[in-house]
Symmetry: D2
Subunit: 147 residues, 4 copies
């Protein structure tokens, strides 16, 4: 299951591949999401807040985009292990308002099995020199080849 010696059926998905994927995903491209890391079950993504179209009424990152960050990073982390995937489900707990200039999702595969990949995600707000954990998620991702 390791991405270090993939079979031809489970091509390696890495940061470079994901950057190409984003170019053909209009919504993800719209968000301006960057891939900071993507290897061996771990993914870190980053989103810079645009006040004019990403916020809720207090000027914080909208919860819908917190959910996007979690879901997206979980799927990308699973893809570094098993190639093409679809998301089965995710659970998101909001801890604090999305106050920040930028936001990172840190996703870590907990278990990559034949039929499902389980991932945990932390969503972290960056504000000047500070960082704050604002949401956590748990996701179930399915290898697309098994559909």
């Amino acid at each position: 299951m390791s991405s270090s010696s993939p079979s031809p059926e489970t091509p390696v998905v890495n940061a470079e591949v994901l950057r190409e994927v984003i170019k053909v995903q209009p919504f993800t491209r719209w968000t301006g999401l960057e891939i900071l890391k993507a290897e061996d079950g771990e993914v870190i993504t980053r989103l810079e807040l645009r006040k004019d179209d990403m916020t809720q009424h207090h000027g914080f990152l909208h919860g819908g985009l917190v959910g996007f960050l979690a879901d997206n990073a979980a799927a990308y982390a699973a893809a570094t292990r098993v190639g093409d995937v679809v998301t089965s489900q995710f659970t998101l707990n909001f801890l604090s308002p999305g106050v920040g200039d930028a936001f990172r999702a840190h996703a870590q595969v907990v278990k990559a099995g034949q039929r499902q990949v389980v991932v945990r995600v932390d969503i972290i707000a960056e504000q000047e020199a500070d960082e704050k954990l604002i949401a956590i998620a748990q996701a179930t991702i399915l290898p697309a080849g098994e559909r």
Copy 2:
């Protein structure tokens, strides 16, 4: 707890109020979300797909926006019962790809208590004359006044 005779502390939130709320929520406004119904614990919202900035690589509605629809409708439904709210958590199960021209979220409050409001949501894709249930969610919403 019924919105038919609210106390001054829990002002009624209805479709008209929510349409005003959307105007000051830049991300929701960006989505073009419409409020079709919002009363007594039930909310129906609708999103028209814009292919150029709302899709994933197959041209389907991006999962992040399915999550937005679920989260948003759950919070709005809770607000029709208890006024101002914050989302604690939600769980989203994807059933089918987001194939459609427009998408509706149907949210129904299951229980509105003093400290939490629990909501179920169905996400339905509209394609020409057809409809399809594409995702379901379960959410926990907290009355903001209790924070």
Copy 3:
């Protein structure tokens, strides 16, 4: 996928089969769980409260057994559609304390796909002539043959 004309690979699981399954599941047998209905994606189970070993400190049904009822009924409901299964995950929201003499789980398959079955469950407390919805759940079940 319908259980009305199963292929040899997905044998029908019905109430009679589930009653035999319970006999070889020591924990479920310990609970005294009854199968009231099990067909075509719908399962109803029932548990009679034993005050001396099923309760928490207020004499209500312990939350662990509310979780058992939800998880178990979801898996059984999926099995009526796809045969042998394993549970991937479930989310349980508690609405009210487990006050009652007996408890029923009503599980309904929302979508039975090739790779996953998604189920919603209601947990209902019976107390004398009254009934009350005390918890709701949403579960993801995997066909065991796909493991």
Copy 4:
């Protein structure tokens, strides 16, 4: 919010207190659950498998008891921070079958707020000298005093 200098309204819950709590919780007592650690938002519990009444048909720990371990440890961990609590919801992902002689739940509070405490839990199987992560959970716990 720290348990090191609690206000009179949020009495410290520690391992000693939890052992007394278990004595008056008939279901938890029935499981034989031990408290290995309970302080400052972290709880470790342990359950020894009894083959004759805790298993499913393969002799593994029944999923209902995996759920119990997760739910219970999450609530206890929250109680070390905020005193008396009720569980709002939890999400459980099963990673591997419950093969083992004993099982531990490791619960860690991620955020303890005024209105909700969010907890992550790992469920670990012990088999002879080996250990294996078999399930993970994420829970939302409410301070009971706020009800």
